[in-house]
């Protein structure tokens, strides 16, 4: 490397030598040169770079206003025109971990500067920011600071040079949770047979696709009395008005739509259809109430078993829809339904 790297370091109130918990509410400030672990960071750079400035901020102050304080910190960093931003490492500290994650995320996105941090895998900041931030996996305490900074610097240098990183386990970073393709040594068929023989023989093997884990979601409290509740009908079966005027995708949906059912007591095949591509839509298109049970719901409403039917059906297509989009649709629908004081949802899926 011809030119010494200009590094800006982010640390919290404690490592920034502002004091203990009493200093956790301090706003961000910038200091010239290294502070605290910044000295070890500079040592780890072995002359290939220097810490030109250090930003220090109280953990409570930052974690309570992540976005706003993050932007303030970017404004403090920007004048130093760094080649690299290093945050932490934060080890097991949750608030510090969130701060470091946010600094890295923003430095990359807003300042377009490579950034790296380190923390323990159990740190909530890792869960929140691993997708965007490069996070070196560390222990829970600062005892290994010098080695950890050394590992961070080695990885950061690859980042600055635009080198492709190896696999997480081998490079020592927390996986972003993204997938990419790699040429393996052997064909998939041979790998499958090898893996099977290892499994049968009780030898160790490594799955190429670890199972995803879903955090449990607490069940919302039951509705006390549906005969007085506002209930909405939702479907991911691709229901649209005939002719699909809003161009809902038949697979890989990028949007959801709301259609008024005000004044209707059933869905007629003349007016509605499904554009879903994952199943044979013939039966649903003969009678769309087989997908969204409006006719039955209206009767239950008239008979007093449902308090009030929401006057809008929400719809999207749930086939080859990316996880990110599905989550987004769910959040947006929830927001809208809460505004309309909907107390319960019946979601019909194909």
């Amino acid at each position: 490397m011809a030119k010494a790297l200009r590094v800006v370091h982010y640390v919290n109130h404690f490592f920034g030598q502002k004091g203990g918990e009493a200093a956790a509410g301090l706003p961000p400030e910038v200091r010239e040169g290294p502070v605290g672990p910044g000295l070890a960071l500079e040592k780890a750079l072995e002359g290939r770079g220097r810490v030109v400035a250090t930003v220090v901020c109280g953990d409570d102050h930052f974690s309570e206003n992540l976005d706003q304080v993050g932007q303030q910190i970017m404004a403090l960093i920007k004048p130093y025109a760094p080649d690299l931003v290093v945050a932490g490492p934060a080890y097991g500290s949750g608030r510090y971990g969130m701060a470091c994650g946010k600094v890295c995320e923003l430095a990359q996105r807003e300042l377009r500067v490579p950034a790296i941090t380190g923390m323990n895998e159990e740190n909530p900041g890792a869960d929140l920011f691993r997708r965007e931030a490069l996070i070196v996996s560390t222990g829970e305490t600062a005892r290994t600071m010098a080695q950890d900074l050394g590992r961070m610097v080695r990885l950061a240098e690859k980042l600055v040079e635009g080198q492709e990183l190896g696999e997480p386990a081998q490079e020592g970073y927390i996986p972003h949770g993204l997938r990419k393709n790699r040429l393996a040594e052997w064909s998939a068929s041979r790998r499958a047979v090898d893996m099977l023989l290892a499994k049968i023989g009780g030898r160790s093997f490594q799955t190429e696709l670890p199972l995803p884990k879903f955090e449990p979601v607490a069940a919302p409290a039951a509705i006390g009395d549906v005969s007085r509740a506002r209930i909405a009908l939702i479907t991911d079966g691709g229901l649209v008005p005939k002719g699909n005027p809003d161009r809902l995708e038949s697979r890989g949906a990028t949007k959801w739509l709301g259609y008024s059912i005000s004044g209707r007591d059933r869905l007629t095949p003349q007016e509605y259809e499904s554009v879903h591509t994952g199943f044979d839509t013939t039966l649903v298109n003969q009678d769309p109430n087989r997908l969204v049970p409006l006719d039955a719901a209206r009767e239950l409403e008239q008979e007093g078993e449902i308090g009030k039917l929401h006057e809008e059906i929400l719809t999207t297509t749930g086939v080859w829809t990316s996880l990110a989009n599905a989550r987004k649709f769910g959040r947006e629908m929830a927001e809208k339904l809460k505004l309309e004081h909907i107390e319960g949802v019946i979601l019909t899926s194909t």
Partner: protein, 77 residues
């Protein structure tokens, strides 16, 4: 995933599907088994009036599920 997000936001939801394992393993708390992928709320073998009664039964089960307190993902039948 839609149902998960609704639940995260605190909106009680019951998901009707023939493929109950999918929402169930995703952690959707109230799942109601429906007949088939190609007709979640219906039964094409019946005359229309009777089919509507079947549909009402599905809805009554769905409403019942919404009124039931659950602690962990459950499949209603």
């Amino acid at each position: 995933m839609i149902a998960r997000e609704l639940e995260k936001a605190g909106v009680p939801v019951v998901q009707l599907t023939a493929l109950t394992p999918i929402p169930n393993t995703l952690g959707v708390n109230r799942v109601l088994a429906s007949a088939a992928i190609t007709y979640p709320t219906g039964d094409p073998s019946l005359p229309p009036a009777e089919e509507k009664q079947v549909r009402k039964q599905y809805l009554r089960k769905a409403l019942k599920a919404l009124q039931q307190q659950v602690e962990k993902p459950e499949v209603f039948y």
